[in-house]
């Protein structure tokens, strides 16, 4: 802040032209009041200069008002001061090390980074601003150790999965708690604030830091504070305009027209039992000679659904005021058109911050924020039955020479099996889906300093978050044409209202070398939730869209839900340090929640931590190369209460599936069922975490870094745990089970070159996390999960969480090649060929040469659930980032590489698109390599012959062929900026002007064969990670823009 002020001061002063020459004098001290002798003082751009005497005093002659004095002293920060009309100068120099002393927000206060006893990391706000992303979370990947940022898929504006130091919960939510300007926000949407308004961004990782947020701290905390107005009496206006283009870097390789026709020819031949027959004849009658298609271009349906996306973004902010009253107002407008047609994201943010000092001791801080965001477009990966990506892959690339009366893409409107398939372009264009969120946030904060020691801080916050999802399926969509609802629309509106207050008293005292800081406070939070749902179907026309649902003739019963929860908390923090050398901190928080029964309502979350600043020891002062060294250790408890508001109550519900019909006319009667069994002893989930860390710096912090080791054990998991089903329940929310996360994090920052015209800094971070399930329910050893992405029926458990293993492993069969003729013998008695003894069937009967074969794990001669094993580990061995920043003259540049190594992805796309079947579906080029009597050396099954299917039966779809190493290295961010020189800027009558070019997700090095390995569309959170099925591909973004200050 100070830097900026000085800079602004300089800018302002440089406009003044004063020519009179005179004598000036002054004193130079350190900021702590120490007199500094021998400080060199020069007058900028001249040869004039002097130095201070033993009393720190100096005198200079023949000085103009416009001269700039430059103060330099070893171990202190260089300082420049413009003379102006002043004759006497009292200059205080900051010590060099203080320049690095970043301020970190720790929750109910802030701390000098050097004094931290906990594992807290910060992201440079510049780094977030300098990325071509719509929301700040997209810029976080690779920036901080221990912070795993992964995408669901590439849906515009969608929030990312952020997990700090590994997931604690199995069936619960693992996302961190966001604290924005001191207000803890649950269900925070990163789209609701503007990246450019962020002033600081800190991540609290270990329990000695997060315990201050008690019951909500276990998943880690992300604290952001937003910018304030300037205090120098000036007004600054800053305008940023940028425009981006977006495209998907790769399309999946699919059959071209010639390949498709050859594939269909081979399939027809197979259907004729590999001898010329009726089906082959039909094929030639329809398609003619396959060679005719050799040079045809046909349609790659991916080209039809993907397009060039773009983002228009405007940011405008005003900031002004004086020492007493200042304001900051910003607005952002962002309009993104996605790479999938008719998808996009829009947001508008208005943010006003007002600070006013009522008196020297009493300050008021207020903020009012309104944000609107809207994600539009069909939900690509959310629906089990219809999928535009799937349809774009399986639609045939070309129609036959002699028409077969099928719809484009080879769809037969009369085939009930193809009911879910539909022209993906029409589906996209004619589906109007809007996901709108309106957040209004206001907070008022009063700070009163009773004395130097005591301060009182009171905050009141109100937030209303209204989310409305409207979906309208027009005539020319799968639902509109082939579904039971016809043209239909639905609106779901959910409203979250949060009222909270927190009040603290802060005590600070320094007695000689003893420094004490203590804080006590209490906090209240009241959240209410309401939701309404309405739907109408069989709408005769789609011309009105969602705006006239009343036209429909098949309305659904409307639904409403209301819910709420309250939290009451008391907390205290005590900190002590001796001579800035030995630090001790203790935190205690008590949280009471309405979610639990009276007896278990209160949870207590203590933590202790300490630090030893080795660099402050006398012996270390002699080690010239050592600029900082601090050893930290901490332990604490934090909690998780993210369960349903009334999960501890036994409840009856009445819903649309629980009714019955009886009486004459068989009329509907609503029916009740027990929707929840409230376990009486339900309580908090508790995470204990031990953290040991080292902060170091060498050569005046040219090299600095941190190393942290942590061991986190979450017990009494709030697990929606399976129970013995004779209880009438399959699952009950219980405190059951244990999960461990252990890890090592390493950060290194180096200042490779620091010259006036050229600087180069590097930051590197790497994280290792090992996740392990330690216990589940009542002796249960595993939880099996069917991610239910396939539109075909049947249950298939594709994920497993097993005691002793990480949460959410990929589970399936081991592929054992394709059955060959050798595997069969001819049974003379039955006159059929059958499998040789000891060779299992694949779960379907009969099998034949060309069918897929699996490893029979239990040796019972057939393949079923019992033969499934863990076939993939979804947890990366390590992940991290490497960023290099340069400034060369007026140019600045940054390159960020990000990686994740050694994890598996379940590429479900390949389990559909590489498996030949007796359909007209197209797919991946592997289909050409299908087994046939003349092509036996292959891993791809035969389509069908002798009425034997080559593909596996339902329930055995996933085997290890579809598990792929997802390791990737990504050129995540490249940014290049040029700040115009003062002369030019002056002539343009602006204060500063910067132009920039930025690229995001520019290139990914990976062996993964899908669109992108950073994908996880499984709908059951930690239980079904890294599933790739019909995901919206990630885009490359290239942004150009300019930033002007007036």
């Amino acid at each position: 802040m100070k830097k900026i002020l000085i800079f602004i001061l300089l800018c302002v002063l440089s406009f003044m032209d004063v020519s009179a020459q005179r004598k000036i004098q002054g004193t130079v001290t350190s900021t702590t009041g120490e007199i500094l002798p021998g400080v060199s003082i020069s007058v900028k751009n001249t040869t004039k200069g002097t130095s201070t005497d033993f009393d720190g005093k100096f005198v200079l002659e023949a000085i103009k008002d416009s001269d700039i004095l430059v103060f330099m002293y070893l171990g202190y920060k260089k300082k420049e001061v413009t003379v102006n009309k002043n004759a006497t100068f009292n200059i205080a120099l900051d010590s060099e090390t203080q320049q690095l002393e970043e301020i970190v927000v720790v929750g109910y206060g802030s701390k000098n980074k050097k004094e931290l006893t906990s594992a807290i990391a910060s992201v440079k706000v510049k780094d977030l601003e300098n990325t071509a992303t719509a929301n700040f979370d997209q810029a976080l990947a690779g920036r901080i150790s221990g912070l795993q940022v992964s995408s669901v898929d590439g849906t515009p504006g969608a929030a990312l999965n952020i997990v700090i130091r590994g997931g604690n919960s199995i069936t619960g939510d693992n996302s961190p708690l966001y604290v924005v300007d001191g207000i803890p926000l649950e269900d925070f949407d990163p789209a609701s604030i503007s990246t450019d308004d962020i002033a600081s961004f800190d991540v609290l990782k270990d329990a000695s830091a997060t315990a201050i947020y008690g019951s909500r701290g276990a998943n880690g905390i992300i604290i952001t504070t937003t910018k304030e107005g300037r205090k120098d009496g000036k007004t600054a206006i800053n305008l940023k305009i940028s425009n981006s283009i977006q495209f998907i870097p790769r399309k999946l390789d699919v059959l071209n027209p010639y390949q498709y026709v050859k594939y269909q020819e081979a399939a027809a031949f197979a259907l004729d039992n590999y001898q010329p027959g009726r089906i082959t004849d039909d094929f030639y009658n329809t398609w003619g000679n396959p060679e005719d298609y050799r040079n045809m271009t046909g349609t790659n349906w991916q080209d039809e659904i993907f397009t060039l996306g773009n983002i228009d973004q405007y940011n405008l902010n005003f900031s002004g005021g004086n020492e007493k009253t200042n304001f900051y107002y910003s607005s952002e407008y962002l309009d993104q058109k996605g790479t999938l047609i008719n998808t996009g994201f829009k947001k508008i943010i208005n943010n006003l911050r007002l600070n006013h000092d009522i008196s020297k001791k009493t300050k008021f801080r207020g903020q009012l924020q309104y944000s609107f965001s809207n994600r539009n477009g069909l939900n690509v990966s959310a629906d089990r039955f219809s999928s535009v990506i799937r349809d774009a892959i399986i639609f045939r690339p070309i129609d036959p020479i002699n028409s077969d009366d099928l719809l484009p893409g080879g769809i037969d409107p009369n085939d009930p099996n193809q009911n879910n398939f539909f022209d993906p372009v029409k589906n996209l264009v004619n589906t109007d889906r809007q996901d709108r969120s309106d957040v209004i946030r206001g907070n008022a904060n009063l700070i009163h300093n009773f004395s130097d020691e005591f301060a009182f801080n009171s905050t009141v916050n109100y937030q209303i978050d209204t989310r409305k999802t409207s979906v309208f399926f027009g005539k020319d969509t799968q639902q509109g044409t082939r579904g039971i609802d016809g043209v239909n629309g639905s609106i779901t509106q959910r409203q979250f209202q949060t009222l909270s207050t927190s009040n603290t008293i802060d005590f600070n005292k320094k007695i000689k070398n003893h420094k004490i800081n203590a804080l006590v406070g209490f906090e209240l939070q009241d959240r209410t939730f309401t939701s309404t749902f309405l739907k109408n179907a069989q709408i005769p026309t789609d011309i009105f869209g969602i705006d006239k649902l009343g036209l429909g003739i098949a309305p659904s019963i409307p639904q409403t839900v209301a819910s709420g929860n309250r939290l009451l908390s008391y907390f205290s923090r005590f900190e002590y340090n001796y001579n800035y050398r030995y630090y001790f901190k203790a935190i205690m928080r008590a949280d009471g929640s309405s979610k639990f029964n009276k007896a278990n309502r209160w949870g207590y979350f203590p933590s202790v931590s300490g630090a030893w600043r080795i660099d402050r020891e006398d012996f270390a002062k002699d080690l010239g190369y050592l600029s900082q060294a601090k050893l930290r250790a901490g332990w604490g408890l934090s909690g998780n209460n993210r369960i349903g508001d009334f999960d501890s109550f036994s409840q009856l519900d009445i819903d649309n599936t629980s009714g019955y019909v009886w009486g004459s006319g068989q009329g509907f009667v609503p029916g009740a069922f027990q929707s929840n069994l409230g376990v009486p002893d339900l309580k908090w989930e508790t995470t204990s975490q031990l953290n040991i860390g080292l902060d170091f710096g060498f050569f005046n912090d040219k090299i600095s870094g941190t190393i942290d080791f942590y061991n986190k054990i979450t017990s009494d998991l709030l697990l929606n745990a399976e129970v013995a089903p004779h209880t009438g329940f399959q699952r009950i929310q219980q405190n059951i089970g244990k999960v461990q996360n252990r890890g090592l994090e390493f950060n290194l920052n180096t200042k490779n070159i620091e010259k006036d015209n050229f600087s180069w800094t590097t930051s590197f971070n790497i994280s290792f996390n090992r996740n392990k399930t330690l216990a589940l329910n009542n002796g249960q050893t595993e939880i099996l999960v069917d991610p239910q992405w396939s539109w075909e029926s049947g249950t298939e458990f594709q994920y497993i969480t097993r005691v002793g293993q990480p949460v959410g492993m990929i589970y399936g069969l081991r592929f054992d090649g394709i059955y060959q003729a050798d595997d069969f013998i001819f049974d003379n008695a039955l006159q059929i060929s059958r499998l040789k003894d000891g060779i299992p069937d694949n779960g379907a009967l009969p099998v034949a040469p060309g069918s897929v074969k699996f490893v029979d794990q239990n040796g019972d001669g057939t393949i079923n659930q019992l033969d499934r094993v863990i076939i993939g580990n979804t947890q990366p061995k390590h992940f991290g980032g490497l960023s290099n920043s340069f400034t060369i003259g007026n140019f600045d540049a940054q390159i960020l590489l990000q990686w994740s190594y050694g994890f598996d992805v379940l590429n479900a796309n390949r389990s559909v698109f590489t498996v030949p079947r007796a359909r007209r579906d197209s797919g991946f080029p592997e289909l050409l390599n299908a087994w046939s009597p003349t092509n036996t050396d292959t891993n791809i099954n035969t389509p069908v012959y002798n009425r034997v299917f080559g593909r596996p039966p339902e329930g055995n779809l996933i085997d290890d062929r579809y598990v792929e190493d997802g390791s990737f290295l990504r050129l995540s961010t490249v940014s290049l900026g040029y700040t115009f020189s003062d002369d030019l800027v002056k002539s343009l009558k602006v204060k500063s002007l910067r132009v920039f070019l930025q690229g995001q997700n520019l290139y990914t090095w990976t062996n993964y064969r899908g669109y992108n390995p950073d994908v996880s569309v499984g709908r059951q959170g930690a239980l079904t990670p890294n599933l790739d099925w019909s995901a919206y591909p990630q885009s490359v973004t290239i942004m150009a823009g300019l930033n002007i200050s007036f």
Binding site: D415, Y660, G671, P725, H726, L845, E954
Partner: protein, 576 residues
């Protein structure tokens, strides 16, 4: 001044401290605490509807126990060879099987709701104690039915009689069959004492009645008399219960009108002029209650267009194939996954039983091109039950091989089902207990009690035969009434012909100890079909039930894996 301000702050903090715990008392708003319900008849009926609703899910009568799990007998089998989706009917299930789990879970969900009802229904808030008893009786009726289904499928099972309070309920050992049947009998008896009789003032059609309790109790006694308990003394009790119903005069068969003629050879022949069997089943299809013959049924109605799920799969999964219309709304689509057998066909033909054959296995289908065609080959995958047909050809002459629709048009058909017609879900009700079953149960029990068929037993059998247009047994098959064994065998076959596809056969065969035998017979019959081919994969697939049936394992289901893992007081059955 400074101190004063400090005091204000201290006070405000203290206010926060004292406001405390009441602040955290919140109650659910969109749901109800279980203690807040069951206070009057309206709430009790909502609670009962919720229990019936579970019986009507796909996991129970909607699909699984009415169709899928009942496959794999001489009535029929799963006909898709490319997968083994109907595991239980193919005898290919494991303890982790979904049917094994969901049947168990759904029935226990019912039991928990009934237990809750029993505990929470507030006696004091009813002025009329008989009203209270009647409501309670209905819940106990439903609990008894759930337990009898559980015992049928799993034999010995845990028997919670109080609602689940917390996770400590996980550990509960199985009860003995005697204990289980004791409770079932007790509950049905209470129900029979307090429920209304069908047709009585205040009785609501489709709900449990007094005679339904007597009839299902009779079924339980018959089951107890057979495998696995083999307590022969229960035949008399079964007979007694049936007699109560028969003598009450409340129920009867939907009659057929017949003409008796004598042909040129001097043989007496019955010509049915009005088919009561068909008429009766049209009621289930057309969502009307026939409370004369139908003593208890499960009701389904398609209301998804209003966002409500009260429909079933009856007539779609086990209906006559209808492929025309691409599965679009308005077309009576049927998947026809359940093949019937030549055993049933032969049994009808051998007895000149044309009325019931025409209804139960009519042998036709509607193709994707709109052609109604006959299905005569029992090894065709379209040789399926017609009992729950959604449609019929408008003109049966269209079934002839040479009758083809004109190009671009299709043959006419009639949709029999009432209500919204959609692809996968139907309005068709499922019979649980019919009067015909009462008559046949009486005849069976009576034969066992007397050691030979009695006049009354024969008379009741003849009532069922007569409605089907058959001559009295003494005339048609005099040998059948010549001994206890012969009469028993006739009952076995009569139940086959009359009650087929009503989810009774598998349990009848198990209690009689005949399941393995009938499956062997099925295998021989399939292999004996003239069109049978050992290299035809479809035909091979039809042999799966007999091939995989293992009498040491398959007379009951294994306990679900989840139950075994989490209930530390329960051991898996030794063969699993």
């Amino acid at each position: 001044m400074k101190k004063f301000k400090l005091i204000i702050c201290a006070v405000s903090l203290a206010v926060g401290l004292t406001s405390c715990d009441n602040y955290l008392d919140l109650q659910p708003e969109s749901t109800l605490g279980i203690d807040q319900f069951y206070t009057n008849a309206v709430e009790a009926e909502i609670a009962l509807a919720g229990i019936y609703s579970v019986f009507a899910t796909d996991q129970l009568y909607g699909n699984n126990i009415s169709i899928i799990m009942e496959s794999g007998t001489d009535e029929g089998f799963y006909n898709r060879r490319f997968n083994e989706a109907w595991t239980v009917g193919l005898y290919r299930h494991t303890p982790s099987d979904n049917y094994v789990l969901t049947t168990w879970t759904s029935l226990y969900k019912i039991i928990n709701l009934c237990n809750l009802f029993n505990e929470q229904l507030k006696k004091d808030s009813f002025e009329d104690q008989e009203e209270y008893n009647r409501l309670l009786a209905e819940a106990l009726f439903l609990r008894a039915h759930a337990y009898s289904l559980l015992v049928n499928w799993y034999e010995k099972v845990p028997m919670p009689l109080t609602s689940t309070k917390d996770q400590s309920a996980n550990n509960l050992p199985v009860s003995s069959l005697e204990e289980l049947y004791g409770q079932i009998i007790k509950d049905y008896t209470f129900a029979s004492e307090h429920l209304l009789t069908a047709g009585e003032s205040g009785y609501v059609q489709g709900r449990a009645s007094k005679m339904a309790a007597h009839g299902l109790l009779a079924r339980v006694y018959l089951k107890m008399a057979g495998y696995p308990l083999n307590d022969k003394s229960k035949y008399a009790l079964a007979k007694e219960q049936c007699a109560i119903i028969i003598n009450s005069g409340v129920h009867g068969l939907t009659p057929s009108s017949t003409k008796t003629t004598v042909d040129g050879n001097g043989d007496t022949k019955i010509i049915v002029t009005s088919d009561g069997y068909r008429k009766h089943f049209l009621n289930y299809i057309q969502s009307t209650y026939d409370i004369n013959e139908s003593i208890f049924e499960i009701s389904f109605r398609y209301l998804r267009d209003r966002g409500l799920t009260t429909d079933g799969r009856i007539g779609e999964v086990n209906g006559i194939p209808f492929a025309f219309g691409g599965g679009q709304p308005g077309y009576p689509f049927a998947f026809g996954g359940f093949n019937t057998t030549s055993l049933l066909k032969n049994s009808y033909e051998a007895n000149k039983d044309s009325i019931r054959k025409a209804w139960n296995i009519p042998g036709y289908q509607f193709t994707a091109t709109g052609d109604a065609i006959a299905v005569t080959n029992p090894l065709a995958a379209q040789f399926v039950p017609g009992k729950y047909r959604r449609w019929e050809p408008a003109n049966f002459a269209d079934l002839a091989p040479n009758a083809k629709p004109a190009p671009g048009s299709q043959e006419a058909y009639i949709i029999l089902e009432q209500g919204g017609i959609f692809k996968n879900f139907t309005n068709i009700n499922f019979p649980v207990l019919r009067y015909a079953d009462i008559l046949l149960m009486y005849a069976e029990a009576d034969n066992e009690v007397n050691g030979a068929p009695s006049a009354l037993g024969i008379q009741y059998l003849d009532q069922v035969r007569q409605r089907a247009g058959l001559l009295p047994i003494a005339i048609a098959k005099p040998l059948a009434i010549s001994s206890k064994q012969n009469f028993f065998e006739e009952i076995v076959d009569e139940r086959f012909r009359e009650l087929t596809f009503e989810a009774l056969r598998k349990h009848d065969l198990i209690r009689w100890g005949l399941l393995g035998e009938k499956l062997k017979l099925l295998e021989q019959t399939i292999k004996g079909e003239p069109t049978y081919s050992a290299t035809n994969g479809d035909h091979q697939a039809f042999l799966r039930p007999s091939q995989f049936f293992d009498p040491s394992k398959h007379l009951s289901l294994p306990y679900p894996l989840q139950e075994v893992q989490l209930n530390n007081s329960l051991e898996q059955k030794s063969n699993w």
